[in-house]
C-alpha cells in the first residue's frame, strides 16, 4: 500500500492554479483561494489514474525546444499558405515512415504533435511496437532529408530533455 500523499502531482497542481487565475484573468483573493482549492483536490482525484511518465530532466533545453517549435510553426504556416495558394498540379504528397528511438508515451505524443504542427507534415499513425511513425507530407521533395530533419531537429532534443 502506498502512503497517502497530499500533493500527488505538484507540477499539475501549480499548472491548474495558474490556469485558473488566467481563466479568470484576475488575482483577487477569492480566486486565489478557489484556485488553490481546485489545485489541491483535482490532482487528489486524478492521481490514481496516472500512468508513470518520464520527467523533464533538462528544463532549459525544454524551453529552447518550445521556442524552436513556435518559430517552426510560423515558418510552417507561411510554407503551407504558399503551397495552398500555388498550383495544385505541382503538389507531390507522400506517406513517409519515420523510424523512432523514443518509446514512452509522453515524449512520443510531443513528437507526434510537433510533427503535425511543423512544415508540411501530419502524423497519421504509430506502429504497434512504437518503432515507426507514419507521416503524411503535403509536398515531399526529399524523403531522406525529411526523416533526417525530424530525427535531428525534434527527436534528438526530446531524447535529451527526457533523458531516455
Amino acid at each position: 500500500m502506498k502512503r497517502f500523499r497530499w500533493l500527488p502531482m505538484p507540477v499539475h497542481s501549480l499548472l491548474l492554479f495558474v490556469v485558473w487565475l488566467l481563466l479568470n484573468n484576475s488575482a483577487a483573493p477569492g480566486h486565489l483561494v478557489l484556485g488553490a482549492f481546485l489545485a489541491l483536490t483535482i490532482p487528489l482525484l486524478c492521481a490514481p489514474l496516472q500512468i508513470p511518465q518520464p520527467v523533464v530532466r533538462r528544463p532549459l533545453l525544454a524551453v529552447r525546444y518550445v521556442l524552436r517549435v513556435l518559430g517552426d510553426i510560423v515558418v510552417a504556416n507561411v510554407e503551407v499558405a504558399l503551397l495552398v495558394m500555388g498550383s495544385m498540379r505541382k503538389l507531390q504528397p507522400a506517406f513517409v515512415a519515420v523510424p523512432l528511438e523514443l518509446t514512452s508515451e509522453l515524449p512520443l505524443t510531443i513528437l507526434a504533435s510537433t510533427v503535425s504542427l511543423t512544415p508540411g507534415t501530419v502524423s497519421a499513425e504509430l506502429s504497434e511496437d512504437r518503432r515507426w511513425l507514419y507521416v503524411h507530407a503535403l509536398h515531399l521533395t526529399d524523403e531522406q532529408a525529411l526523416i533526417e530533419t525530424i530525427k535531428s531537429r525534434y527527436e534528438a532534443p526530446l531524447k535529451e530533455i527526457f533523458a531516455c
Binding site: V80, L91, Q92, P93, F95, L117, S123, E125, H136, L140
Partner: protein, 124 residues
C-alpha cells in the same frame, strides 16, 4: 486609443485574418482528404495566434491591466490541433479513404492501418 497601438492591432488582425482565410481556401482547393488535413491544422494556428495577440494588446491597452486569457486559448489550440489532425488521419486510414493517385509510397497506408512496421513496396 493611441495611433500606433491601433496600427499594431490592425496589422495583427489582418495577418490573422489572411491566414485563417488561406486555411479555408486550402480546405476547398486541396485535392484529397490527407492533403486537406494540412490546411486547417497549420494555417489556422498562426491565424488564430495573430487574432488572439491583437485581442491581448487591445484589452491590455483598454482596461489598463495585462490580459492573459488569450494565452490560454493559444495553448489549448496548440494542444488540440495536432490531436484532431492525428485522429482524423487515423480514421481516414481505417476507412481506407483513398489518397490522391500521385501520392508516393501508398503501400505504407496499409502498414499504417495495420499498425505494423513498414514493408518494402511490392512494385515501385
Amino acid at each position: 486609443m493611441n495611433f500606433w497601438v491601433e496600427l499594431l492591432i490592425t496589422i495583427l488582425l489582418l495577418i490573422g485574418g489572411i491566414f485563417v482565410l488561406v486555411g479555408s481556401i486550402g480546405l476547398i482547393r486541396l485535392p484529397d482528404f490527407y492533403t486537406r488535413l494540412h490546411a486547417p491544422t497549420k494555417a489556422t494556428t498562426v491565424g488564430m495566434g495573430g487574432i488572439l495577440i491583437a485581442s491581448m494588446v487591445m484589452m491590455t491597452n483598454n482596461q489598463g491591466y495585462l490580459s492573459l486569457h488569450e494565452l490560454l486559448i493559444t495553448l489549448f489550440l496548440l494542444i488540440t490541433a495536432p490531436i484532431t489532425a492525428h485522429m482524423l488521419a487515423k480514421t481516414a486510414l481505417h476507412h481506407e479513404n483513398r489518397a490522391l493517385r500521385r501520392t508516393r509510397s501508398q503501400h505504407l497506408m496499409e502498414c499504417a492501418r495495420e499498425q505494423q512496421p513498414p514493408k518494402p513496396a511490392d512494385h515501385d
